[in-house]
Amino acid sequence: MAINQLPDDLLVKNYIDGDEIALEVLINRHQSKIYGFIYSKVLDRDIANDVFQDTFIKVIKTLKGRAYNEEGKFLPWVMRIAHNLIIDTFRKGKKMPMNRETEEFSIFSYMTDNSPNIESQIITEQVENDLLKLIEELPDDQKQVLKMRIYDDLSFKEIADLTDVSINTALGRMRYALMNMRRMIEKNQIVLTN
């Protein structure tokens, strides 16, 4: 007897015994009914395909795990699995509703991306490079205090200790550094804003 003509219960038995073709025959035989049933409930081809796939994954696991009790009701059993998965799909859909963009509603009205775009990033990099060049133009003692304060985040007491000067001297050097930088920016008409 050709495999295509075998009844469902024999195909199931053959499949459990290792005949993968038997599964193919079962799917070909019943796919239209099962898929049609699923689609009639979910009304979406992609979701119907997903549910169909999940249904047969459960079927395969049950059969290969030898947990199926053959009572000559293969198709009703598969339809029951599909039905339960459809219910699960609807439950998931309620928990995470999908909002489709319409003319009245756009998700981007509510979701914003605050990360800087590439243009802002390039401008920021340019500003930082320009600042570094200005700092290099300062006298050494002012440059040293400024770098220790801004880039190394040291306190003026720590700067004073490390450079062997008084705190007032360190503060004064910082003040002059900033004044000189402002002067250079004005003189050269440098724009340092983003």
Binding site: G36, Y39, N49, F52, I60, G65
Partner: protein
């Protein structure tokens, strides 16, 4: 000769899953092996 007016029966297209879906199921089945150890089942997927 009288004209023959054959009534074309409207056939609804069969609802079928995609070939990719079916192929995935068949491949999954071929790759899956379930091994029983004591009271537990272990699923082995041979890629």
């Amino acid at each position: 000769m009288a004209k023959l007016y054959t009534k074309k029966t409207k056939s609804t297209p069969k609802m079928l899953p995609t070939k990719e879906t079916v192929n995935f199921i068949l491949s999954y089945s071929k790759a899956l092996k379930i091994v029983k150890v004591g009271n537990e089942d272990y699923e082995l997927n041979a890629n």
